[in-house]
Symmetry: C2
Subunit: 151 residues, 2 copies
Amino acid sequence: MSEPTDTPRPVPPSITAAWIGLMRAQRIVLAAIEADLKAAGLPPLGWYDVLLELARATEGRLRPFEIEKRTLLTQYNLSRLIDRLEGKGLVQKELSGEDGRGRWVVITQDGRAMQARMWTVYSRALSDHVGRKLDESSADALAGLLAKLTD
Amino acid sequence: MSEPTDTPRPVPPSITAAWIGLMRAQRIVLAAIEADLKAAGLPPLGWYDVLLELARATEGRLRPFEIEKRTLLTQYNLSRLIDRLEGKGLVQKELSGEDGRGRWVVITQDGRAMQARMWTVYSRALSDHVGRKLDESSADALAGLLAKLTD
DNA sequence: AGCGGGTACATGCTATTGCATCTATGTCGC
DNA sequence: GCGACATAGATGCAATAGCATGTACCCGCT
């Protein structure tokens, strides 16, 4: 009998190439975009993700666990990110009436303004670092292949 | 005159979809692989990357700046990661003779053993979380599209 | 009403990351 | 050989991430 966990799997080169490419591409493009935001004196991308979800939500409010699902942030990191956003006046926390355990996170006017300001830089960065590299049909194909990975 | 930095760019949906897919896929697959390593009581993937580069290098030794280029780690993070690896006896640091500023990082026998042990788990995780989701021609196509992003 | 188990969120502690800067050495031009 | 600048690597400190656990509440069952 063999002991499967003690024996390396043969992994096809195309699979490892895809994985390494995925790691490299994400890191390089993310670093470039974060650098553009920082150069503009703006906060990191994680802040944008939360602000955008709130800005899109009805009445600009969501429960933390809803933000968590949408953004893939962990519970504890989100909890503290919300504190930072609140500290800068970009969101407010309110107690939830219906569910005594819950809070509402509500985006403020400053929060909406920040989201818009970040988008001006972010959209340009996306154009530069993604749009310039891929035509639309390539981008569609890429999105489709990536989606297979997350099912 | 318009002020380009104050105006959001229109970004084609296919481009944003590709970018969001890239972030999501990388995070989800990476988290799954890291979870497998942790479940096996093994260190994180960053350790593997360094150990593999060293194991492949002639005489099992590289200069930190060479590792830096190959792995995309930042200089300061790598410096401390090497300290951690040394603390566990997986690498050794030696002073470089030719270049008085430099050090050599040399993989130990324990380091090679750890790299091999991690590969048994990592290769299985890659098969599970990437190989199972993509056939080889899709993987090739994905790798090719991702490569366009990093030029 | 009271118990058991689950969900929502917060938090103390430790580990890692990021940033700025420091030390030491190398290189080039004079 | 000396000054000016670049490169290799380390490190103090502040910020963030990860982990474990805590608190408060909800729900279903008896």
